[in-house]
C-alpha cells in the first residue's frame, strides 16, 4: 500500500500550483512595473495573464477535488490538498489585484501626471516581497519563512492607512487632482489585498506542514483578552 500513483498525483498538483504561482507573481510584478513606467503594453500583458491564471485555477481545483474524492487522503496529505485549494484561490485573487492595478494605470495614463503624497513603489515592493516569500515557504515547506511573512503584513497595513489618510486629504483640498488621488488610493488598496493574500498563503503553509491553524491569531487573542477583562 505504498500508493505510488497517489504520491505522483500530489507532486503534479504541487507543480501545477507552482506554475500558477509563477503566473500570479509575474502579473503583480508587471502591474507594479506598468505603474512605475506608465506603460500600457505591460497592462496588456497583465490582462492576458489573468485569463491563464483563471484557467489554471479551475484545473487545479478539479485535480484537488478528484484526489479528495478518489484517494481519501489523510493527515499531511489531506492538509496539503486543502492548503492547495486555498492557496489556489489566493493566487487567483493576486491575479485579480494585478489586473485591478493595471486598470488604474490605464485610467491614470489619460490624466496629467501629478505628484501625490504616497510612496506606491515602496508599498508595492513590500507586497511583492511578501508574495515571493510566501511562495518560497510553500516550495520549501518552510514555516520559518511563512511566519516571517505574517510579521510583514502589519507594515503594509500601516502604509495603506497612511496612504488613505494622505490621499483623502488631497481629494478634499485639491479637487483638480482628486481623480489621480482616487486611482492611487485604489492601487494602494489592491496592494494591501495582495499582502493579505500572501499572508493567507503563509498561514496555509503553516497549516500544511505543522497542522497548526494560525489564522486570525491576533483578533481572536484580543477578543479573548476583552472577554477576560470585561
Amino acid at each position: 500500500m505504498t500508493r505510488i500513483r497517489f504520491q505522483q498525483s500530489l507532486d503534479e498538483l504541487k507543480e501545477n500550483l507552482l506554475v500558477m504561482a509563477g503566473l500570479a507573481e509575474q502579473a503583480i510584478q508587471r502591474a507594479i512595473e506598468a505603474y512605475r513606467v506608465r506603460d500600457l503594453s505591460i497592462c496588456d500583458l497583465v490582462s492576458r495573464s489573468e485569463n491563464a491564471i483563471n484557467r489554471m485555477e479551475r484545473d487545479i481545483d478539479q485535480s484537488a477535488l478528484d484526489m479528495l474524492a478518489m484517494e481519501q487522503p489523510m493527515a499531511i496529505d489531506l492538509r496539503f490538498i486543502l492548503s492547495v485549494i486555498k492557496i489556489n484561490a489566493d493566487l487567483e485573487r493576486v491575479g485579480d489585484a494585478a489586473k485591478s492595478i493595471s486598470d488604474r494605470v490605464r485610467n491614470m495614463e489619460q490624466m496629467p501626471v501629478t505628484e501625490l503624497p504616497v510612496d506606491i513603489p515602496r508599498m508595492a515592493t513590500l507586497a511583492a516581497e511578501m508574495v515571493r516569500k510566501s511562495l518560497q515557504s510553500f516550495i520549501e515547506g518552510d514555516t520559518e519563512v511563512a511566519r516571517a511573512v505574517l510579521t510583514m503584513d502589519d507594515a503594509v497595513d500601516a502604509m495603506n492607512r497612511a496612504a488613505y489618510k494622505a490621499l483623502t486629504k488631497v481629494m478634499e483640498e485639491q479637487s483638480r487632482i482628486a481623480p489621480q488621488a482616487l486611482n492611487a488610493l485604489m492601487i494602494c488598496r489592491a496592494l494591501e489585498r495582495v499582502a493579505d493574500h500572501a499572508t493567507n498563503i503563509a498561514e496555509d503553509v503553516i497549516f500544511w506542514v505543522q497542522g497548526a491553524d494560525v489564522r486570525h491569531h491576533k483578533s481572536l487573542a484580543a477578543q479573548k483578552e476583552n472577554k477576560s477583562t470585561g
Binding site: 500508493r3 489523510m74 493527515a75 499531511i76 489531506l78 497542522g211
Partner: protein, 252 residues
C-alpha cells in the same frame, strides 16, 4: 450502560511469538474506539485479550491487567462471566445456521439458564430493534433461520445476539469487512447509535470507517501501541511519524 476499560502493561504471546508488548491505555466508556494498523500488528490479539478469548488457544499466554469497569478480568472473574459482560462480533457473520432468528438472539440467555418466555420475547425484540433489524425480520422470527438472511442482516443478527445478554462492552473485529457498502453503512450507523449505551471497541482496516464512527483511535504496529488519541487528531495531524506514514499509505 458501558464502562471504561483500563489496560495496564498488557503482554501477549503465541508460543514464543511476543505478539503484544507493554500495552497501556484507557478506553473511555460509552464511546467508540477504533484500533487500526497493518495486518499482524496485534490489534485483533488485543481485543481478544479484552474478553479472555486469546487464552483459549493452548499455546497463547497473557500477562498484565485489564479492568472492565471495576472488574479485573484476569484476577476476579471467570471467562464465561466476562463474555457475558463483553460481547463480541467477528469479521464474518456467524449465526447458528439451523436456529431460527429468534433462537439465534435468545441463545446466549438460554445458555445461561434464562427460561422466562415473556421476558425472552421482550429481550429478543429489544435486541433486534437495537441492532436495526427488527423491521426486516419481525414477521419471520421463528419461521426463518439465521442463515437465510443476507450477509448484512446476518451481521446485525450477530450484533443482536451479542446485545441480548446485556453486555457493557461490545468488541467488533472488522465487523463490516465482508459486507457491501450499503450493509457497511447500516453497521456504521448502528455503531453510532449503540455507543451511547455500550463501550465499543472496533478493529478495522478501513480508515475512513474508523474516522466516521470512533471518537478515539489507537494505532498498533509490530505488537506495540504507537499512538492513542482523538480520532480527529490521528487522522488530521498525528503526533508520531509512523502513524502518519501508515494512514497516508506510505507503508503497510
Amino acid at each position: 450502560m458501558g464502562v471504561g476499560i483500563e489496560v495496564i502493561n498488557l503482554n501477549a504471546w503465541y508460543g514464543a511469538n511476543h505478539t503484544l508488548q507493554d500495552i497501556n491505555l484507557n478506553i473511555p466508556a460509552n464511546h467508540a474506539t477504533a484500533l487500526i494498523g497493518p495486518s499482524g500488528c496485534g490489534k485483533s490479539t488485543f481485543v481478544r485479550c479484552l474478553n479472555r478469548m486469546h487464552e483459549t488457544n493452548p499455546i497463547a499466554r497473557v500477562t498484565g491487567t485489564v479492568r472492565i469497569g471495576d472488574l479485573d478480568i484476569y484476577e476476579d472473574a471467570k471467562p464465561v462471566e466476562i463474555r457475558r459482560r463483553v460481547g463480541m462480533v467477528f469479521q464474518r457473520p456467524n449465526p447458528f445456521p439451523t436456529m431460527s432468528i429468534y433462537d439465534n438472539v435468545a441463545s446466549g440467555l438460554k445458555l445461561n439458564g434464562f427460561r422466562n418466555r415473556h421476558a425472552l420475547d421482550e429481550i429478543v425484540e429489544r435486541s433486534l430493534k437495537d441492532s436495526a433489524l427488527w423491521d426486516e425480520v419481525k414477521d419471520d422470527l421463528k419461521k426463518k433461520s439465521g442463515a437465510s438472511l443476507s450477509g448484512g442482516q446476518q451481521q446485525r443478527l450477530c450484533i443482536a445476539r451479542a446485545l441480548a445478554v446485556d453486555p457493557e462492552v461490545l468488541l467488533m473485529d472488522e465487523p463490516a469487512s465482508a459486507l457491501d457498502p450499503v450493509s457497511t453503512s447500516k453497521i456504521e450507523d448502528l455503531i453510532f447509535q449503540l455507543k451511547s449505551q455500550y463501550t465499543i471497541v472496533i478493529v478495522t482496516h478501513n480508515m475512513q470507517q474508523a474516522a466516521r464512527v470512533a471518537e478515539k483511535t489507537g494505532f498498533f504496529l509490530n505488537g506495540r501501541m504507537v499512538e492513542f488519541d482523538s480520532t480527529h487528531k490521528i487522522f488530521t495531524n498525528p503526533s508520531d511519524k509512523r502513524t502518519e506514514d501508515y494512514i497516508t499509505g506510505r507503508f503497510g
